[in-house]
Subunit: 236 residues, 2 copies
């Protein structure tokens, strides 16, 4: 039986944008594990009750509930040691952990001014009140006041990616010659603004832009085939 993953979705169930769910899907692909996703909305907390918490990614594997993208990554390596390892050694794990934390503490905060208002536009109506209340409480401003200066917000976002850009100047991936969990952490994080913003956020002609294209091409290019608000708009 394949793994079941609750995956955050917009009003359109095909629009998947959670930076944390992306990390988990990329980890599952790396391991070569079969999985199916259930589109989940912020207010579908009852569905996750058996996991004892109310956030995604949450997966069910042979009746076992596991949540939190980092814990899931550790779980997958432990449970499926014969599949390609996410953390082959201590160094790959510290690198992944550092990049994962850097994404949470730096890249994600720098993406908010670009992404949050756009997330609000594409989520299910039933989620809107919850989303507005929780984000406005956390950020301390009305959603409408976020990222009004798109150019400044994009500059901060790009500038904040500098350590990765510099590293990728002479390495194919953040883990060296092959992608590792740290690459998935950053790629998954960037897929958040990439998926929900009406304008592209990744600067194609940059080291990180070329790495982003390489990440898109992994595993038969399945991520590139996933909808964004831009290609959904173009399809109309």
């Amino acid at each position: 039986m394949p793994i079941t993953l609750y995956d955050l979705a917009g009003a359109n169930p095909d629009l998947r944008f959670s930076p944390y769910c992306w990390r988990t899907k990329l980890a599952l692909k790396h391991k070569g594990l079969d999985y199916e996703t259930i589109p989940w909305r912020f207010t579908d907390t009852a569905a996750l009750a058996p996991s004892g918490q109310s956030k995604v990614p949450t997966l069910i594997d042979n009746g076992r509930w596991v949540h939190d993208s980092w814990s899931i990554a550790l779980y997958l390596d432990e449970t499926y040691p014969s599949k390609p390892k996410l953390f082959p050694d201590a160094q790959s794990r510290t690198l992944a952990k550092f990049l994962n934390s850097w994404c949470d503490w730096s890249v994600l905060p720098n993406s908010r001014a670009l992404a949050v208002r756009n997330v609000f536009k594409i989520i299910h109506d039933k989620d809107k009140a919850h989303f507005r209340a929780s984000r406005e409480k956390a950020l301390g401003v009305p959603l409408e006041q976020l990222g009004l200066d798109r150019e400044a917000a994009h500059k901060t976002f790009v500038q904040g990616l500098k350590p990765a850009d510099v590293t990728l100047a002479d390495h194919a991936f953040l883990h060296g010659a092959e992608p590792g969990y740290g690459d998935y952490a950053l790629f998954g994080t960037l897929l958040w603004p990439h998926t929900v913003c009406p304008e592209p956020v990744i600067v194609e002609d940059s080291h990180i832009g070329r790495w982003f294209a390489r990440m898109m091409a992994l595993n038969g290019g399945w991520v590139a085939a996933c909808p964004t608000v831009r290609n959904l708009a173009a399809a109309k």
Copy 2:
């Protein structure tokens, strides 16, 4: 003949505080290479003329001049391949490069409000006009206006270290079980405010504080024996 390293010094030649020179000294220790340092001041640019530039770290190795801490690290591994490697594989190099860049783009900027005014106090009189002019131009404010709210500056500094702190919660070093160049990059960077600030900047009771103590203890604890403004003041 040992390697000669030009090493930034204060008015007191024993006070060495450059975050980049620290990275190089830590790299030389890792390689187990003999070196001697020449105390150098910001305005001693003539001494570096043969290197074609005016900054430290700059070293002379068998008549060859090499500058820039990252270039020096690569040079040392290339020139002394039989000595312990700074970059044993591609992954350790990407990890080191990322951490090195993160220090330059995040940790150093977050340290300025704590360090820069204190650096001004301890440098040689002949350096003061140059230091003030160049820093005020770069930072856009008079030195006297930097870090006036010490508590806020320290909070920003500590908060910015979060990705490393989280990583060190379950790993001895940023490279895993043993220290690598990424550890030296961060340790060297932190030795800048650590050396020049009248109050300690590292929170001892934190993962990063315990890692800092482990770094201090490496190679017989030679760094712990180097002067800071605090122990120079205590010795008076």
